[in-house]
Each structure stands twice: as C-alpha cells, then as structure tokens.
Amino acid sequence: MNIWIQIIGILVALGVLGWLFRFAGQKATNNKPFFRDMTFGVAFGYALGAAVLLWILTTYYKAITADGQVEVNKYFFFRTVIEWFVKFSIAAYLFRLVFRYVGTAGTRKLFRNMPLTASFGIMIILVYAFVAIFAGVIAPHGQEEVFAKVNVLPGGDPAIGGDPDFPLGTDQIGRDLLSRLIYGAQNTVGIAFATTCLAFLLGGTFGFLAATLGGWLDQLVSRSVDVLMAIPSLIFALLLMTIAAAWAGSNKELLTVYMVLIIAVIDSTRVFRLARAVGLNIVVMDYIEAAKLRGEGLGYLIFREILPNATAPLLAEFGLRFCFVFLTIASLSFLGVGIQPPLADWGTMVRDLGQFINFAAFSPQTASLPLLAAGAIALLTVAVNFVVDWMLHKSSGLKE
C-alpha cells in the first residue's frame, strides 16, 4: 500500500511543479503564446521530463561515486548503459560530421539532412558488415577451437579467474567467447541476409507477376499466401523445423540450409503482399497503360517500367524483413532449433550463457555475457530500424 501512496504523492508534486512552471513562464515572458496556450497536460509533461532527467543524473552521480564492491556492482549496468549511450551518440555525431565533408555530392547532401538516429544506424550497419566480412582476421581464435581452460571468467584479470588471452573468458568446453561473438556476426548476420535475399527473390517475383498479369494467377497465389499467413510465422517455422530435423538427421549443416529455405518461404509471403500492393499501385498509372498500348512485352513492363518505381518501398521493406528474419533466426537458435553448433551464433550463445545473469550482484562482467550476445542482436536491428524509419519518413515527406 505504501508504494501507492508514494506514487500518488509524486504525481501530485509533479502536477504542482508543472503548474508553477507554466505560471512562472507566463509571468516571466509577459504571456508569450508558448506559455499562454500551454495546456496543463503539457506543463505536467515538462515537469515529468525534468524529474526523469534529474533521477538519471543523480543515479549516475551515485554510480560514479559508489564505494565498495557491492555498491559498484549494483550500479555497474546503469553506468555502462549511460556511458555507452553517450559514447554512441558522440560517435554517430562525428560520423555524420565527417560524411558531411567526405564523399560524393549526393552522399554529402544526404548526410546534411540526416537525423542523428539514422547516421547512428548507418554507422552500426557498416561496423557489423566489416566485422562479418573480416571475422577471420579480427577474431583472436577460431570459432570451433577448444582450449584446455574452461569457464574462464571475463575481464582478463587472473586474480578473479580471468585470463588476458580470453578477454571475455571461455565457455564450459573451453572455446573463446570473444572469437565466438565475432564469428557470430558472420554466421548470424550472413545467414539472415541470405535468407532475406531469397525471400525477396521469391516474393518479389510472384508479387510483381501477380500485379501485372492479374487474373487466375493472381487469385491462386494470393489465396495460397492468405492461408500460409493465417499460421503465425514463428509457430509455422517451428513446425516445419521439426520435420526438417527428421529429414536432416544428424547432418547439422543440412538442417541450417533447411532453416534458411523454410524461413525464406514463410517470409516471402509478406514480401509477396507488399510487392503486389506496390505493383498494383504502379500498374494503374497511365504510363503503364501507355506502354501496354505501345505493345511492350511483360519483361519490359516489369523490369523497365514497374521495378524502377518500386525500389524505394522495396528497399525499406528489405530492411524491415531483414530485421524480422534476423530476429526469427535468433529466436529459433535461442530455442535450440535454429543455427546448429559448432557454428557460433548469438541466439545459441544467449541460451547457453543465460543462467549467468543470476551472478549480476557479485560478478557483473559475467552476468553481462548473455546480455552482450543478445545486445549484439538488438543493436543491429535497432540500427536497421532507425535507417528504415528515416527512409520511410523521407519518402512520405516528399509525397506531401
């Protein structure tokens, strides 16, 4: 009950603060429209925002001045999050600043009007692409290499069970976790990317054909897609993976290939819907009618007239689909039926390291291992989503 009284007390205090803020503003600015027309809700919002900001600052102050291991450990995560947030923001700002002066005239113009979130997204995507391509060069050890030292703790400090050779420690059979994290970029991202491409090839082809030709082909494919989409995708993927597992037997690589195919087919239904909708919007244009009346063939219509006008929505959809596929694969791996060991993969790593989360109070580094792998997944999807959000915003802004 006590907690409810506290909450109500805080709300009332914020309300009073908001009212005072508005009143003071009105007096100080001699009733400028900004304060004069401010509703109480908005004033309350300002007070709430200020309170949250204050809480973050005081907690961070407590975190940096924390005394004793227990206190430090308690604030470890909060402090890390804040510090990384600031670091990433600065990096994104610098990244945007550099590309405002470097590159072609087109990209320079692009970066000039870019929000910070989008440049952050592009930066992260580039970093991931780099790590994925050069994983073999960057990683200190091989992804399947097994060392004698098992369960080395992260941090690299021998005094508390670490080893400078393995900055993030090793897992229960002695594989270097840093290397597996880096190789994970190659495997997880690479497989997701290939799957998305396949889904686009399938869905895009059928979608544009259905939009252009219409008639029975459109009906047949659209109705089949309706049925496939009536089964939730993760559930359907799990069902098909059960069957695929029976077919693949003990061949782990074959199972991964099956997984790519299964997810590509399930996801291509969503691509089909979008490609068909975009195609239909373009097909009704007069220039398509003009091309038809000229006597142009199907190939010319699709590749020369429709496709060039569909690139913007398709590109945005590619980003969103990639995120979706990436998360689906990560979830399957986390559930133990996705990418198969010995390939290093983030979803599997989270599952294997998950229980370390309970050590947060006395060894925060260890507890951050599963969060690191899961965060690696989240960071990339956040980055892609930021970029897509900006692209969609831009294209909708141009239309108006």
Partner: protein
C-alpha cells in the same frame, strides 16, 4: 469600432511554409479590407497561395505553415496574436468556412444535422432544438430536396452538389459575419455547379454576410463577388471592384488571364461524305463487368479534323476512348481504322495498328514514368516502332523536342519531376508524335493545367495538326475548349450520344434540350450572367433540377 470600420482588415500578411528544414515564403505580404456584407473574389492559378490566405483570414494555418508577419484584424481582434481560446470563440460562430470537398469535410461518423447543430450549441447561440429547426429552414432556403429529412442522413448517403449546399448551411448555422468559401464548386459538374452558385449567392445576400470567395475560375468569381483580388505565386497583383477589373485590368498578368479565352482556331471545311474516315466507331456498346456504360455509340473522325467528345462525369466519354484503344473491348459493334476492321482487344492488334492510334493523358504526372529521362521517354517509341538507335534515334528525339517547342539540349537529360506541368504535357505530346500516328486521342489534356498554360497546349496541338495532318479525338468537359479547337462535336450523356454535328451547327440554336442546358450552364465573364439566367429560366429550371425533368 465605428460603423464604417472594415469587418476584416488584413495588413502586410506574410506566411511561410516549412520544407527541407527551412522556412520558405508562401505569401509575401498581402493586405486587404473587407466591409460588412461585402464579397471579395480571391483569384489565382495553382500555387498562388489562395487557400493559405483564406485560412489565414481566420487566423488559422495548416501544419508546417506559420504567419511570420502582419495582422489580421477581425472586428477589433488581431487573429494572429489572439489566444487559442479567443480564436475558438470566433471560429464557427462569427467566421465560418466552406471547404472545397464537402464529401471529405463532413465527418463520416455523424449525421448532417448533428454536425450542423454542433456549432450553435457549442457556441451557445441556440439550443439543439432551435438549431435543428433552423437547419431545416436553411436546407429549404438552399433548395435541398426533402429538407426535413435530408439532415438525418449520413454524408455518404448524399450527392456531392447537395453536400456542398449542406456545408454552406452548416457555415450559416450561427449566422456568421464572414464566410470563407474555398473553391466550393471546383469538383462539381457545370450543371450542378450553377445550382450551388445560385444558392450560395442568394443566402449570402439574404443575411448580408461578408465573404471571401476563393477560386481559379474567372467567370465564377465574376458572378459571386463585389470586388476581385488577383494573386500570383504569393504576391498580390491587383485589386479592384468586379466590373472595373473585368473591363479594365491594369496589370499585364491580369490582362493575360482575361485574354486566354480569345484563342479560336478557324474551322475547317466539312469533309466529303464519301471520304473514308480515319476512325469509325460503329454501334459500339460496352460494359464494366455487368454494368453497361456505353449504348450504341457511333461517330466518325476524318483526316486532319478534330472531333470533340463532350459530356459531364459519368457520361461515358473516356470509356469510348478505352474502346477505341482496345483497353476495354466493346460487347457490341466494331471499330474501323482507314476502312479496315480493327481487332477489338489491343493485345490482338499488331504493332502497325497500335502505332497509328496514340493517346495523350489528362495527368501528365502519371502518364510519364518518373524514373526515365525525357530522352528515354520519347526515344522508346522511336526505337520500338521505327527501329532507330544511336545517333539516328537521338536526332529524331531532338527533332521531336523542337516540334513541341522545348530546347533539346536543355531538356533531353532531365527527369519529368524537373519540368513544369505544361512542359510535362508537351512531353506527352512528343511521345505520341514519336510513333508517327495518324490519330491521337486527347483525354482532358488541358483540364489539369492553368488557363495560360492550357492555351499554349491548345495552340501547339492546332499547329501540329496543320503540319502533320493529324486527326484528334478531343475528350473534354469544358465547352470553352470545344469552341476553340473542335471541327465537330459529339455530346454524350449516360453512355449515349445525345447530339452530334459540325461545331458551328452545335453552337447555334436550336439545340437538343440537354445540349442547351449544358451550354447555358457554363458561366460567362459577364457579371450579370447568372442574374440574367435566373431571370430568364427561373431557379427551378437550372442545373440538376432541370436534368431530372428531362
């Protein structure tokens, strides 16, 4: 405020719009006064900032716009600096608004009468019951059918012209002193428009309401307003009372606007009846699915002649064009080209047959692929039909650009988005010419363009016809365009040909009653035109009411 102070006084009004992260001017300083009961026509081409100005007169700006300077004094209150609450008290009760699209501006979820009574009850002018009775009275005055009953319908159950009058009634609900009419008849057919115009004028006069009437149609504004203000790209051009403005415009731009209607191509002599027509439409009927849209339509188009097909929306004029091109194969009848039967479906026609009949579209924006350069757009038919490539193709494209009066080197590598509306329409013409056709269908090619630009397109089409001996099928709803370019006229209504013949016969009496109604409904520049027409015919013999009697 003394008795002779203006009701509304706008001074040095500047409005800016936000695009590409900067504020760009939309209105560069406008000033005017409006007395009680005075109607001002605000006229200009698209992009002149008329609507923005109309809303600003209510102290309102759309999202992404702001008033950067100036004052809007309404009865002693500056609407630019007034608080939101003060403005709300004025809006709807003393200043009202009538939007262009009544269908979109009525809330689909509420009955008309509920939306009508909302203003008076919320502003505490009348009780709900009083306001309801008053609404029915207003509906009756605006000559809406079934005034007692129509208010209890939902917007989608009422036709466009009726909705526009219901919206005028709603604006009148609190008996405001000022109403802003934002192009209230632009989306309507001419026969519907005239009824709405007559009712708006009557009710504004009856209640001595001041009004700002925004439109791009000079003839309409001539009927409605006491004075006219002309705008061009956010600048004031001139302002004068209606009669002076019409008879004696001062500025060059205004004069050019007035002069547009003078273009008239000389009619060509009638063709020998024995000559083979280029296109002969014979007893064609067509249907969309099971809904019949064309009934036994026949007409001929001869070499070097222009046949104008006239009708209101839904008359089947565009469907006739779709039948000729083969996009909608007729259910009955056939189409002959140069005396030879054409396959009905375009997919069965050979390249030669497709080449001979070309089409120019209403919306140049959707008729040109936005991702292709001008050179590619015009070059494709050159290559596709003539087999020209490389330098030969380029020379041909350059020649075509010269034909449509665009400098080849300057335009050949541009994208359609880098051209103005009129230039885009010219590219559409060049693309049709590239096929070297004998016959071109022009589907409302000038109706999306401003009058000056449209005039240029008409002149170009006439010149090309003389040079290349082309035949045109000219689909339009605008009788002024028909007068200026046609040799023969086909009048259509509800999928049937009502009347056809040489232009001069069609424009001299006696007419078929429908043609007569159509001709008489087109507003003229004479400010007394509407008054005279109403005196001559009576309010019940104009517009849709007259159509219904036929």
């Amino acid at each position: 405020m003394s008795a002779d102070d203006p009701l509304l006084s706008v001074k040095g009004l500047k409005i800016e719009g936000r695009s590409d992260e900067t504020w760009n001017p939309i209105i560069n300083g406008a000033s005017f006064d409006l007395q009680k009961g005075e109607v001002m026509g605000l006229i200009g081409e698209s992009g002149a900032g008329k609507s923005t100005m109309g809303l600003a007169a209510m102290g309102f700006t759309r999202d992404g716009c702001r008033i950067s300077a100036g004052t809007v004094m309404f009865d002693g209150v500056d609407l630019v600096t007034a608080s939101a609450a003060d403005k709300r008290a004025l809006l709807g009760s003393r200043i009202a608004y009538v939007a262009q699209s009544a269908a979109a501006s009525f809330n689909p979820a509420h009955r008309l009468i509920d939306q009508h009574t909302e203003g008076p009850t919320q502003h505490n002018v009348m009780s709900r019951a009083e306001s309801e009775a008053d609404g029915i009275e207003l509906y009756r005055k605006l000559r809406l059918p079934n005034p007692e009953e129509i208010g209890f319908r939902y917007p989608h159950q009422v036709s466009g012209g009726q909705l526009q009058r219901a919206m005028t009634a709603m604006a009148m609900a609190c008996r405001p002193e000022l109403i802003i009419f934002d192009e209230p008849t632009t989306a309507l057919d001419v026969t519907t428009q005239i009824e709405v115009l007559a009712s708006i004028r009557e009710i504004v006069e009856e209640y001595n309401t001041a009004a700002i009437y925004i439109t791009h149609d000079l003839a309409v504004v001539a009927q409605m307003s006491d004075k006219i203000k002309v705008m061009l790209k956010g600048d004031e051009v001139e302002e004068a009372d209606t009669r002076t403005m019409l008879s004696d415009p001062k500025e060059e731009y205004t004069k050019s606007l007035w002069a547009v209607r003078s273009f008239q191509r000389p009619s060509k002599p009638a063709v020998h009846t024995s000559a083979t027509p280029v296109i002969s439409v014979q007893n064609v009927s067509a249907a969309y699915g099971k809904v019949p849209v064309l009934h036994d339509v026949s007409f001929d188009i001869h070499e070097g002649r222009t046949v104008a097909v006239v009708g209101e929306s839904g008359s089947g004029k565009s469907t006739a064009a779709r039948c000729i091109t083969g996009l909608l194969p007729p259910t009955q009848g056939h189409i002959e080209f140069d005396g030879q039967m054409m396959p009905l479906d375009y997919r069965k026609r050979d390249r030669m047959q497709l080449r001979q009949a070309q089409m120019i579209y209403q919306m140049a924006d959707t008729a040109l692929n936005p991702r292709k350069t001008i050179g590619e757009l015009i070059g494709r038919p050159v290559q596709f039909y003539m087999g020209l490539t490389g330098n030969e193709k380029r020379r041909r494209v350059e020649h075509l650009l010269e034909e449509i009066e665009l400098e080849p080197t300057q335009y050949i590598n541009r994208l359609p988005s880098e051209l103005s509306g009129g230039q885009k329409q010219r590219i559409g013409i060049a693309r049709a010419l590239a096929a070297e056709p004998k016959f071109i269908i022009c589907d409302e090619v000038t109706s999306a363009l401003d009058q000056l630009v449209a005039e240029g397109i008409l002149r170009l089409l006439a010149k090309l016809q003389d040079e290349l001996n082309l035949s045109y099928m000219f689909i339009t709803h605008d009788l002024a365009t028909v007068k200026s370019i046609a040799d023969e006229v086909v009048v259509m209504k509800d999928g049937r040909v009502i009347e056809q013949g040489p232009k001069d016969d069609m424009f001299t009496p006696p007419h078929h009653p429908y043609t007569d109604l159509l001709l008489s409904s087109v507003p003229e520049m004479d400010p007394d035109w509407l008054t005279n027409l109403l005196n001559e015919r009576g309010v019940d013999n104009i517009g849709d009411a007259a159509v219904d009697k036929m």
